[in-house]
């Protein structure tokens, strides 16, 4: 028999009392952990997008609404494909690549997918006039590498869709599958698939990005236009700028060139997500406050009630020879165990919630943040012990004569 086993025995005997006294702390920790996980991963995603796509610009139909950079071409409106030629022929400084897209809903082997038409960079090589025009551009952006519209020799695989938002070569009867589509459809490289009445060969599968690109099937833009009978239109034109500076300068130039379109930079798109992150960051502090006040008060109340219930038991222990210090430790140990258990269970609950809900709330995949989880458990334990201190001190000062039936 030890102090710890004395506490454990009591907790085991009264499981509902344990649950009710620590439920507020458990839920508080769960909410805090879930929100912080989503916030942190969302911030990391914003940062990653800014660093990898910061120089990118989107040309969208004028009335398109925009919440998500990756889903920008799924707004249901279109703009003429000839804008691509206009951009290239204008020879604006800082334009590295131009990538028009047209997205259509489609069925692939019974699976609902988004069929996205893209123009491979090899098509630009075929249009020699664009290259010539770019060569004679007088105002090349400082610090930019020379703008070249055509296949690069860095990454010619389909994976370049993930890394540089464009692909070098894609035949008119080939498709590239997003990670989710590949996983759910079980199609792989070399398989033949049918969509919108056309037959395609799978060129490759992209690795997982955690974005809506995972649920897309990429095909040649002109094939998609033909099959969907849309004419020469696209949903969005993505311009890969040579550097973030250039992207900033390009916006007014493009607005002048294409007055009937909406031109946005990635930074502008990400402002929405930054705002959401700030809100969630603020919410997590609010939840922490709730956790301290409600969780602490709830545990303190439960502990005070427990002291009242156990007056005779405390008196008996003191009559047997327990010191007030022992009684104080008895209740603090109980609070410590409750704090650790509620903190750990709450943390796991929060983690599971974040992992399940994270992709829906913020469009990001969630990985456990162990240091954050540890801090949450330590905070829950600290709050539990602090909340139990006054009831425990009261117990330690109880009159041991309460162990007798009457005085």
């Amino acid at each position: 028999m030890t102090l710890k086993s004395l506490v454990w025995n009591e907790l085991r005997e009264r499981p509902w009392s344990v649950v009710s006294s620590s439920i507020a702390i458990l839920l508080g920790v769960a909410a805090l952990v879930a929100i912080r996980h989503v916030t942190v991963h969302s911030e990391q995603e914003v940062s990653r997008q800014l660093s990898s796509l910061g120089a990118n610009i989107l040309i969208l139909p004028r009335d398109a609404s925009l919440q998500n950079y990756y889903a920008a071409d799924r707004n249901g409106q279109t703009l003429p494909e000839e804008h691509v030629s206009e951009v290239l022929l204008a020879g604006l400084p800082g334009v590295e690549k131009v990538s028009p897209k047209l997205s259509m809903p489609a069925k692939m082997g019974g699976l609902d997918v988004t069929l996205t038409g893209i123009l491979p960079q090899s098509e630009f090589t075929a249009q020699a006039a664009w290259q010539t025009a770019a060569m004679f551009t007088p105002n090349r952006h400082e610090g930019c590498t020379k703008a070249s519209h055509g296949p690069s020799d860095v990454d010619g695989t389909p994976e370049s869709l993930n890394t540089s938002r464009s692909i070098d070569s894609l035949a008119k009867d080939q498709v590239v599958l997003g990670a989710d589509v590949a996983e759910r459809s079980a199609f792989s490289d070399g398989d033949t698939v049918e969509m919108l009445g056309g037959k395609f060969t799978v060129l490759g599968t992209l690795s997982r990005t955690g974005t809506v690109d995972d649920s897309r099937v990429f095909a040649h833009l002109h094939t998609v236009q033909d099959l969907a009978k849309t004419g020469e239109v696209c949903s969005a034109i993505e311009i890969i700028g040579c550097c973030e500076d250039a992207a900033g300068d390009l916006v007014p130039e493009l607005s002048k060139l294409l007055p009937n379109t909406r031109i946005v930079t990635v930074s502008q798109v990400l402002q929405t997500q930054v705002g959401v992150n700030r809100l969630m960051g603020g919410t997590s502090w609010f939840v922490l406050g709730i956790l301290v006040v409600v969780g602490g008060a709830s545990l303190a109340t439960a502990m005070a009630a427990n002291v009242r219930e156990r007056r005779r038991e405390i008196g008996t222990l003191m009559a047997i020879g327990a010191t007030p210090g022992f009684v104080l430790r008895l209740f603090l140990m109980k609070a410590l165990i409750l704090g650790v258990v509620a903190g750990t269970v709450g943390c796991l609950l929060g983690l599971v919630t974040a992992i399940i809900a994270g992709p829906q709330w913020a469009g990001v995949a969630i990985m456990p943040l162990w240091s954050l989880s540890l801090v949450a458990i330590v905070a829950a334990t600290g709050i539990a012990v602090a909340a139990a201190y006054f009831p425990a001190r009261h117990a330690a000062k109880l009159d041991p004569c309460s162990c007798f039936q009457e005085v």
Partner: protein, 229 residues
């Protein structure tokens, strides 16, 4: 030796000061078996609490071996209770969520005994009271008599010199009552001091000395045995 000098204990209830106990002089020698009898509310439990170092007197001194009990710190008084005193309660006061063995281990644990020592000492003490087959039973799974025997085992497990008992036979059937009284007789014959508060005159007859409490005042009574008989 336990000695009370000019001890007064009062309570304030509803604005009124009530004297629960006043005792000019009382001396209990080591090895004595003393029964305290008196009607309800006469101050018997107050006397027991004062002697156990759990209730400080409003006035006067209580000495244990010529050392003033209430001049000691709370922690020292707890240590005295742990090592030198044992309490027996009318309602047994077993800890409900602990087994019989664990209940008896509690004083050993407070003393700091190792786990294996606690196991062997507590087991042998329970066996002495015929509860060897009830070690892992919780109080709710024991009869009233068995519960009181577990409580007795817990009281005696640290080998106290002084046993303070509050109506120890009050809730017991005749057979269990005899077990308890025999245990007290054995303790007395081992040289322990016993102070038993009781309504039970026949139980009081086991004591060598009887005190009567009336309205907080203590007096000696030598003819209790003959009255009970």
């Amino acid at each position: 030796m336990i000695r009370l000098e000019n001890v007064v204990r009062t309570y304030v209830r509803h604005g009124q000061t009530v004297t629960a106990l006043h005792c000019k002089h009382l001396k209990i020698e080591m090895g004595e078996y003393v029964a305290v009898i008196g009607p309800s509310g006469s101050g018997k439990t107050t006397l027991l609490s004062l002697l156990g170092g759990m209730l400080s007197p409003t006035a006067g001194q209580i000495y244990l071996d010529d050392c003033s009990l209430y001049e000691q710190s709370v922690a020292v008084r707890s240590a005295i209770r742990l090592s030198r005193m044992g309490f027996v309660f009318q309602t047994f006061n077993l800890i409900p969520y602990l087994t019989a063995l664990q209940n008896v281990q509690v004083p050993l644990s407070l003393k700091g005994d190792a786990r294996d020592v606690q196991d062997s000492v507590a087991t042998s003490m329970l066996c002495r009271f015929g509860l060897g087959d009830r070690l892992n039973h919780k109080p709710s799974e024991l009869s009233v008599g068995q519960q009181q025997r577990v409580a007795l085992a817990r009281t005696l497990v640290n080998g106290p010199q002084i046993i303070l008992a509050d109506e120890p036979t009050g809730n017991l059937d005749p057979a269990s009552r005899e077990v308890v009284l025999k245990a007290f007789d054995d303790c007395h014959s081992e040289g322990r001091t016993i102070l038993m508060v009781t309504h039970d005159l026949a139980a009081a007859a086991h004591a060598g000395r009887r005190l009567v409490l009336r309205e907080g005042s203590i007096s000696e009574q030598s003819d209790v045995i003959s009255e009970a008989a």
